[in-house]
Symmetry: D2
Subunit: 133 residues, 4 copies
């Protein structure tokens, strides 16, 4: 299995690096990351942009899938659905926790909850990953 | 109504500015934007990251809603669901077209199709915007 | 290709038969059906139950997929997302129109719009169908 | 608060009654129901129809919302998204468990997991309920 450090380095020049996703835990059952709500991740009013929330979650759910892939398999997200529940303020940090709802041969389903440090739920993202040869 | 130029400037220091959303058309029925698939918007393999697609679409749909808001009203995205259909390669440009499926008093529903310049469909994002006082 | 009549008969003893889905058009690009809003398809207040709307749409989108399947292939719905937009009253008829957003080798994406006879949009359902050997 | 028995009776002549939803637990945090997979709730191959799964879940999530409503308020489902994970066979019973992800003043979000009696996950449905005056 890829180490968390390797995964972190791998992302550095990609989109998760641009937004600043920092991995905190990476197991086959659970992936946790942190994201600092920088001003350039916000929408009007100093609130984390919905698109940044979805990108953060998408990253964690995809990593969770990759961690579970058999050698030689690939994955692609086919669906993602998000419920936005509460805002996260600029200059705070949000925590994303992705857990597997399903890890099958043809699909995996991961659900990511994004919370403030105080535990307030901001968004829930559920995504389907297709497993490809 | 806000002009497209004002909206573009307004976004410059926010998340849509970070990813490089460029507005091309902005009417109450339709919002069109372009996004250059920069390397730092990609996932492994030089393909536009799903999170960047969702952020791009979320931006266009939210702008469409704002264009239709009565004075003094605000909006927030409550739901967004995405079907990922095809990849967009690094250094190409994708076009996002958001159209209103519903413009009501309490909610608006916008659907954004992201396509390559050649017209190949990459993703379809449907989002619900709650209208607040 | 299966005829529409054969498909209609095939559904008679299944869930689409229980709720009364009637096929009106069935081509590889588009499937149209009608549903009478019977009292036992409603929720409180004499309005078509959201679950009945979703079941109606799911049926049409799945049929659209089946019409496009190569011989020997099967399909299963992996994802379905619905935006509820307006109510349909008891004793009226709603029309569902499913169109293909994507018809690929591994997945198909169908979107169904449910409208009243007067053309008022009630719901939009977008579903992903996985194609299996 | 409405009793579970009153709610069950209230549903009898409506869509949840047609498909046979039976309430087992009803609290402000959690609603549990059972559904016998009758042949007329199935799709081809003797598997619970996706539409019936969504209708079952929608019913439980809406009831959860109603249980939390202040007097004089109403609710309507604005969004529902479903991940289909595994099939449920004819003549078995599935259990649906709806839990609140969010109970706010303007929206509630409920997530329903449908499982076989053996605990195998069949579907996860997440729905947003708008609260209206």
């Amino acid at each position: 299995m890829l180490s968390m450090e390797t995964m972190q380095q791998h992302m550095a020049s990609l989109f998760p690096g641009l937004i600043g996703v920092r991995l905190v835990e990476m197991t086959p059952e659970r992936v946790v990351g942190e994201l600092v709500v920088r001003p350039d991740l916000c929408t009007a009013g100093g609130i984390l942009h919905g698109g940044a929330s979805m990108a953060f979650a998408d990253t964690l759910g995809a990593i969770g899938t990759v961690v579970n892939l058999e050698r030689g398999k690939r994955t692609t997200t086919t669906d993602s659905s998000t419920k936005f529940i509460g805002g996260a303020k600029v200059d705070t940090t949000v925590i994303g926790e992705a857990v597997a709802l399903h890890r099958g041969r043809t699909t995996q389903v991961w659900q990511t909850s994004i919370r403030t440090r105080e535990g307030k739920l901001c968004a829930v993202v559920t995504q389907t990953q297709l497993i490809l040869d």
